[in-house]
């Protein structure tokens, strides 16, 4: 724990990383576990990342761990529902708006991260893009598509936003 580069990274990024994990999991305990695991991986990797890359690295790892968390949690919820005939419960900070949490939870992790950075952290799109390793345009697209999906899930009567690449084959990512 004597690595000063880690101490610097911890001081600068730990709060945002913890808050994101709590936001994305809907649970303070689970979010803190994931944030701890993320930081532990940074420390254990021995990688001396450039300072401007650390945040992007942390959020990428945290995002991947949140993906695994939701997969695991989904399986557990389904098993629990089968055993107890209960539907899934709501999580701590979402308890006043369970409907919204159900829709946020249904999003993919990239969308959740974009929403978190843009809305909760109140960052400009250029900063969202930098943290997510995207171009600014792609960050905007990710965010607005996520909001569109969220709105569609909350209000199915609203006309759906078409989500398809503008143009033809060349817009697909080629190998």
């Amino acid at each position: 724990m004597s690595d000063s580069w880690f101490e610097d990274a911890w001081r600068e990024h730990s709060r945002a990383a913890i808050r994101y994990c709590v936001f994305a999991t809907g649970s303070r305990d689970d979010g803190e576990e994931i944030a701890a695991e993320t930081s532990s991986r940074l420390l254990g990797s021995g990688r001396r990342l450039r300072p401007r890359k650390v945040e992007s690295w942390l959020f990428t790892v945290a995002r991947n761990l949140c993906v695994s968390y939701h997969r695991r949690a989904g399986r557990e919820r389904r098993a629990l529902a089968r055993m107890t005939c209960r539907t899934s419960g709501h999580e701590e900070h979402w308890r006043h708006d369970v409907e919204l949490w159900e829709c946020v939870r249904a999003l993919d992790e990239r969308s959740r991260l974009a929403i978190y950075l843009r809305l909760v952290e109140d960052r400009p799109f250029s900063a969202v893009a930098s943290t997510m390793g995207l171009t600014e345009g792609a960050a905007k697209m990710t965010y607005y598509r996520a909001m569109g999906r969220l709105r569609n899930s909350l209000d199915p009567e609203t006309p759906r936003i078409t989500e398809r690449p503008a143009g033809g084959a060349n817009h697909a990512d080629q190998i």
Binding site: R28, S39, V104, I175
Partner: protein
């Protein structure tokens, strides 16, 4: 949060999310997590120590069994080594040299396309030095159409040659925060999206791995993983040679969501053959591979070159007289310069080329001048029609005319629509060029006019 037009429709939803957001972590929260980090790191180290001990015991047992059985030891791995595959794709040492052939096909409604029957879309040669974050990719889609991009911090050189153009288009930008290119990620060097999804699939161990044999008889691992994206479902499959994990090919199939307008094919297939895959020692890489400074001597080329203040080409690149304000102006240092040899797609005043020098502001801002910046641009024309046309489309605010050393100038000043700060724009013809001064206000523009001198 600033309100943008895109935001308006979601304002209620945004407020609803913000209201449910978790609170800022307190010092106590941060300390608690920090303690968990310490414990997790200790656990990790302990697990590592146990693992080393277990491996040692297992090795001893293995040697004993081999000795007893009298059989030779064969390297026969029955499990796919995820870390090894990741290490081959992003080697820690050396410079990766890869040549790829990319085939592409798409289906019409209901049609079926066999894998590998697609047409050759392009070939690509990559050089990647992860240690220094330098890379070069050269893509050839036609015998006479070549694009190559060299990333060599702090520069990015992009050259495209097409048979339809008289010469190559050469663009050199500066790399950095706010620049046009992102830093090279250790695993995003080929085609970012599949590489990223591959890394995630490997990390989560959510791929299917099978042993297979290629049509050429090579024993291989076949790794398949899936992505559910906005545009449809993507199936990815990569083949790795079994003995050393050298990538052999990558296949990607995209099943599009149904399209209403018929413009999008039902599915696309991409196959990439890995023709070469080798790691060079840094001193074995051909000289000039990572050179990102453009050679400015081709008279047929179109150049768009961004230079730092210390770039010696600043004084030599332009074939006509260029005006500037010296190494600094009004307490603003010269940050960067942009030379464009010709710009047929821009307004007429710029078509024969121009050179801009920027004082102050963000060092890597390619957009409009920022609030406090002074920009002096020398256009290689004195055409009255071109100047008038430009003035008509770009003047704003209060317009004035004046004279400096016997030459007439015109100036406009005010707040541009959409901006909250004042700018002034001044145009003056000097000899065979037209000089434009863009400054934060009319006083700064007139002061810059007084300081003008030949570069």
């Amino acid at each position: 949060m600033p309100t943008r037009s895109e935001d308006v429709d979601h304002a209620d939803l945004e407020a609803r999310i913000v209201a449910q957001a978790p609170r800022e972590p307190t010092d106590e929260d941060v300390s608690r997590v920090r303690e968990k980090v310490s414990k997790a790191s200790f656990r990790r180290a302990s697990v590592f120590r146990y693992a080393v001990a277990l491996v040692a015991v297992a090795l001893l047992a293995g040697v004993l069994v081999l000795w007893v059985s009298g059989r030779g030891w064969q390297q026969q791995s029955s499990a796919f080594a995820y870390d090894m595959a990741a290490g081959v794709i992003a080697p820690a040492d050396g410079v990766l040299h890869v040549v790829l052939s990319h085939y592409y096909s798409n289906t019409e409604a209901g049609a079926t396309v066999e894998v590998g029957t697609g047409t050759l879309a392009d070939t690509a040669e990559h050089w990647v030095d992860l240690d220094t974050e330098r890379s070069r990719v050269e893509i050839q889609s036609d015998p006479e159409a070549v694009v190559y991009v060299v990333v060599s911090p702090p520069r990015v050189l992009s050259v495209s040659k097409s048979p339809l153009d008289p010469g190559p288009h050469v663009s050199e930008t500066l790399w950095g925060e706010g620049g046009t290119d992102s830093p090279l990620d250790p695993i995003q060097w080929l085609r970012p999206d599949w590489a990223r999804s591959f890394a995630e699939a490997m990390d989560d161990r959510v791929c299917d791995v099978e042993e297979t044999v290629t049509p050429d008889g090579v024993e291989a691992w076949s790794v398949t993983w899936w992505e559910d994206t906005e545009m449809g479902v993507l199936t990815n499959r990569a083949l790795f040679r079994r003995n050393d994990y050298r990538p052999l090919s990558i296949f990607r199939r995209i099943e599009y969501a149904p399209s209403e307008d018929g413009l999008v094919p039902e599915s696309e297939e991409h196959r990439t053959d890995v023709d070469e895959w080798e790691v060079y020692a840094p001193n074995e890489v051909p000289e000039g591979t990572f050179e990102a400074r453009a050679d400015l001597t081709d008279p047929t080329a179109t150049y768009d070159i961004w230079m730092t203040a210390d770039d010696p080409r600043l004084r030599t690149c332009c074939p006509y007289a260029v005006w500037w304000l010296g190494a600094e102006s009004q307490d603003r240092p010269l940050i960067m310069a942009n030379w464009v040899s010709r710009a047929p797609g821009l307004n007429r005043i710029a078509q024969k080329g121009f050179m801009s020098v920027r004082y102050g502001g963000d060092p890597v801002s390619y957009a409009e001048p920022v609030e406090d910046q002074i920009v002096v641009t020398t256009y290689a024309t004195t055409s009255t029609d071109a100047i008038d046309e430009y003035w008509l489309g770009n003047s704003f605010g209060t317009i004035t005319q004046g004279e400096a050393e016997g030459r007439e100038y015109r100036m406009c000043a005010g707040t541009l629509p959409g901006y909250h700060y004042e700018r002034a724009k001044l145009l003056i013809v000097i000899g065979k060029v037209t000089v434009e001064i863009d400054a934060p206000g009319s006083d700064a523009a007139l002061a810059a006019l007084r300081d003008l001198e030949p570069l």
